[in-house]
């Protein structure tokens, strides 16, 4: 599925949940589905800097697609990371780099990506795109 298709799927899932607390329950559930980063990689090198909740991110390349694994010490952050990886993982570098990720705003979680520095999500999205770019460039050599 394309990035846009996955985003639409997610928007639909959330539209069916009206109550905020139910949405958060869903996000907490999604945290369990996060492709977990190997414990060995939970080091400073793979840590995305954010103010409070920490996020670790690992990227690899398989058959022309970027695969992400991650973890976070805060469950809600972990759930949102799971959503982002669902959208961006197993896609081509170009598609990842160009993804606008409107879905986060559309499901009402925009404040988790705000520049208040309270989590590493903005930095993580940037890092995911940087990894995609770097992998693309190292392969084109």
């Amino acid at each position: 599925m394309s990035i846009q298709e996955i985003e639409n799927q997610i928007i639909e899932e959330f539209e069916q949940i009206e109550d905020w607390m139910e949405r958060y329950n869903y996000i907490i559930e999604l945290a369990n589905g996060l492709p977990l980063i190997d414990e060995n990689y939970k080091t400073k090198q793979y840590l995305i800097s954010g103010c409070q909740s920490q996020v670790w991110l690992f990227a690899s390349y398989e058959n022309g697609k970027v695969i992400y694994k991650a973890d976070s010490d805060a469950i809600i952050t972990k759930g949102i990371v799971a959503l982002l990886i669902r959208v961006l993982s197993n896609q081509t570098p170009d598609d990842i780099i160009n993804a606008k990720l409107d879905f986060v705003d559309k499901i009402g979680l925009k404040e988790h990506l705000s520049p208040t520095r309270s989590n590493g999500l903005v930095s993580m999205i940037n890092q995911m795109k940087l990894y995609a770019l770097a992998l693309k460039q190292s392969l084109s050599k």
Partner: protein, 405 residues
Amino acid sequence: MDFNKIRKDFKILERKVYNRPLVYLDNAATTQKPQVVIDRIVTYYENENANIHRGVHYLSQISTVAFEAVREKVMTFLNAANNFEIIFTRGTTESINLVATSFGERFLNAGDTVLLTQMEHHSNIVPWQMACKRKNAFVKFIPIDEAGNLLLADLDKLLDDQVKILALTHLSNALGTINPIKEIIAKAHQKNIPVLIDGAQAVAHMKVDVQDLDCDFYCFSGHKLYAPMGIGVLYGKEKWLNEMPPYQGGGEMIKTVSLTEGTTYNDLPFKFEAGTPNVSDVMGLDAAIDYVNNIGLDTIGKYENDLLAYATQKLATIKGLKFIGTASQKASVLSFIIEGIHPYDIGSILDKLGIAVRTGHHCAQPVMDRYGISGTVRASFAFYNTKEEVDTLFNAINTAVGMLL
């Protein structure tokens, strides 16, 4: 005092967030403003606005008189000896930067020490680190115990010949600890060490008498005292302020300026007030001080202490909840963590339930390091908060725990 009636002075407290009533418990971050403060700023701009101190025309004169009258009021509010010992700044952070830079410039030498504490807000740490770096001096700190009290047994030893200034908080924004600053100041003065007090949190919750405390500097921010953002105060004893070089240069702080003969500086307080002051927000500060004095800080303090005690007692019943900051002398601030749950998650769910608290290190990373944690959830109370709001907080925390564990 009818505190329910007082709530009506704060329109913002009637609003909803995510379709729920706002429960504003982030007063240590900033306070809400009573209508009179908002109105005062508006009427200033509608009727009086002009630049001050140099003007010849009517508006300039009434603005200048009004502005200097607020300086008098702040002097009375702090019980300072002289109105020229009251400097208007942008806030506590700027006040401390002013002293660290200017006092540091004049009095810090290589090998000297600036003594702080482990519970300081970054604004009372970083300016000193920067000043020490410039002069090859060092920062040392008084440690805290598990409850969040200063380990004063170490104080005599720490106040040695190298210490040029001691800077510490009156009331910790992360822990709620009220420090026994009068005793500490007396000890420091025995060794001729001046003391700067960070009063950002304290002024809204208790009376401050700078002559009684005998502190050398006292700083606070308007926006934590129901006044606008962008205005603050530095109180400094005349003897220090006279010896300190100017901080910022520009208009207002000069006597004469020449491109060839050099420049001479103005007297106190203007020496430290370069450029056009934030006149409108000084007026807002005036209205806020009046508002608070009308209720009375003793009355406010007692009400808030009762509320804090009620909140502490209620939250203590939550399984896995641990308070960070359990000093016997506390005010306003209730910081906690819950075993197995990240503070950010709790804060996010409380937010969706309409409750405004703060999570994280509260600009006090050394405190968090001391407890080996990444952050806390902090509720901080003001006189417009109620027992019902504490009950809402209690229920919401339980809901969050149910979802997250």
